[in-house]
Amino acid sequence: MSKPGAGRLEFSLNSTMESVGEVEATADKLAAEAGLDEDERFRLTMAVREAAVNAVLHGNDYDPKKLVKASFENTGKSLVITIADEGEGLDPERIPDPLAPENLMRGTGRGIFLIRSFMDEVHFRQLHPGTELTLVKHLAPPEGKT
């Protein structure tokens, strides 16, 4: 599935924690098959998990009538994962900085920060309704090539 050019894998999932687990496991498989080392696998898997939790919990609010759509692709140059919800929308500019002293001891609000920290590119798209996150991890070129 995650071999370059092997196509794009897409899921439509219920807004449940089981779906988060399924998305996380698929991301881990994608990362492993792409040859990422253990640290990079952990970072990618964690970023994708955070995005899936956001979609299920904050986007769809566990609503059984709303779906989470996820896609996974190895383009050969990058791993590209999209996670979309059907919620009210998320403005990434309005998320408080979790590293600011006044926010450091808050119990929540670190998910988007971790996603941005662990991925090479993160894009937000408003779907009206809903939000789609595209997470991109660049792959190192094969040895001997530039």
Binding site: M17, M46, E50, G107, L114
Partner: protein, 114 residues
Amino acid sequence: MALTIASREVDGITVLDLSGRITLGEGSVQLREAIRDLISKGQKMILLNLGDVSYIDSSGLGELVSAFTTSKNQGAALKLLNLTKKVKDVLQLTKLYTVFDIYDDEATAIASYK
């Protein structure tokens, strides 16, 4: 793997040996309940051994912060022991590493409560 929590006493300090994942829906609630239970019983010295914690997410981080704050507000000291590389990396990234008292050695951690 979900979180398992084993409790033991060392020199009056409660050591919680955590094993598994501290994540939303898996370990966060268990950890919260374990801390609340200790606090309600009047325990003032709590050491969380994270040596077998394989994974933590933002919810788990939030739970550690809440456990620390709850303990502090009740006059208790909650400290961390044996961070795995993954947990340490995430704590450093989120600037929480400096918030907690963290130890690599249990004897040193136990002695720090004296």
